[in-house]
């Protein structure tokens, strides 16, 4: 284990990208909230030579409203802030609920959305929520900025669409529509990663379902999502039969692991039940409010 040689504190995204590109690629790392990276450093799992702290980059902080009414969540926004933002309502409530379920208050005070999705643990809470809400991820790199749909951002176990020397700068959300968002997770103990999680975002207008987004976490290399399941739910107006079918489709498409939390077979069994439960709760809520 070698000592950490330098800690950089750039003030802009461009400077951060330059430091990343100028360093020794393998041993220069970005430091966001540190909720995961510092724990890994302390455990001796990683030994970067240089850290580029994003703490002083103003652009990355906080949640802003876009001209079209959508939201821009800066990469350095803490889970606690996201969990408390009332603009994340309607279809976007899924994100607020997911943020509120991450780990524990200490982690939510430190951890950031950009750090979390860059680490891309498939059992983490944000990935399925962002996929369900059909969010986009804004990325900065040596070639400038680009946007990637969340549905394409997560590519494999702990692997994302981020290229060399690229970083996440923000999450972009379309304007919220009336409807609902929900996030539920099955876990061993409070604060743990999900065994299985279900994220749902539904646009509902005049008694009809305009759009449904459903994603499952913890059951494969990336959030599990099928256009076909979304369409079934929309066309079936979130009905029990559509929910059952969507759950079965997702369970069949899942590629879960056996790990300390549960067996792969158990996860496959739980997926349809969690999906049905989420949809039953959604129907309940809509019948009360619509």
């Amino acid at each position: 284990m070698s000592a950490l040689a330098r800690l950089h504190r750039p003030a802009t995204v461009e400077e951060a990208v330059r430091l990343l590109a100028g360093g020794d690629g393998e041993r220069t790392r970005l430091l966001a909230g540190g909720a995961t990276l510092v724990a890994m450093l302390n455990a001796g799992l990683v030994d970067p030579a240089e850290l580029v702290s994003l703490a002083a980059v103003d652009e990355l902080r906080g949640i802003g409203t876009l001209p079209d009414g959508g939201l821009r969540i800066g990469a350095m926004t803490r889970h606690r802030e996201t969990a408390a933002d009332v603009r994340l309502a309607g279809t976007l409530a899924v994100l607020r609920e997911a943020a509120a379920r991450i780990a524990n208050p200490v982690v939510r005070n430190m951890g950031t959305i950009g750090g979390s999705i860059s680490f891309a643990d498939p059992a983490a809470d944000y990935p399925p929520a962002l996929v369900a809400a059909d969010a986009a991820v804004e990325i900065a790199g040596p070639q400038g900025r680009r946007r990637v749909p969340a549905r394409e951002f997560f590519v494999d176990w702990y692997a994302t669409a981020l290229g060399p020397n690229e970083m996440v700068t923000a999450i972009l959300l379309a304007p919220r529509a009336p409807g609902l968002g929900s996030y539920d997770k099955l876990y061993r103990v409070a604060g743990d990663y999900a065994i299985v999680s279900v994220a749902l975002s539904v646009a509902w207008r005049d008694g009809a379902c305009a759009r449904a987004g459903l994603a499952v976490g913890g059951c494969g290399p990336r959030p599990l999502h099928l256009d076909e399941a979304d369409e079934l739910l929309r066309a079936g107006r979130l009905g029990a039969q559509a929910a059952r079918r969507a759950g079965e489709l997702l369970a069949a498409a899942a590629d879960p692991l056996d790990d300390v939390r549960a067996s792969a077979a158990y996860r496959r069994r739980v997926i349809p039940r969690m999906v049905e439960r989420a949809l039953a709760a959604a129907r309940d809520e809509l019948s009360r409010t619509a």
Partner: protein
Amino acid sequence: MRMEGRFEVGAPRERVWRCITDATLMVACIPGCEEIEPVDARSYRARVLVEVGPIKARFNLVVEVTEELPFDRVASVTRGEEGTRASMLSADNLVTLTELGPELTEVRYSSEVSVTGRLAKYGLGMMRKRVDRLGVQFAERFRERIGSGALSA
């Protein structure tokens, strides 16, 4: 943990044999392999980079061929560690070739692998998925090379 897999190659068995015993070609096919250097007639030194999330482990390995039955099977033992001793790896490997047709060969590989240290953090299930993926990548690259005539016949 035991890892195994198989794939087919559209080439005669002798040709496949020459490829799997060609160190230069193996460097190009093994995912993450940066260097293979012969030590003596029966052993090689190799450097392999394994990346899982933010963990990048560069292993210095010694591969010793323990049994070589031309055109049929190669058994080897791999031992190694990261430079910092943060992870250790050892493996008993067996590769067998079966002639399925004059232009079709089946490659079977199995390995009893043990990894300790920081990479073991990810657990067995995850490593297994990872290795399956590496196996597929290896097969793809191998087929490409063998088909492209990269090998001096």
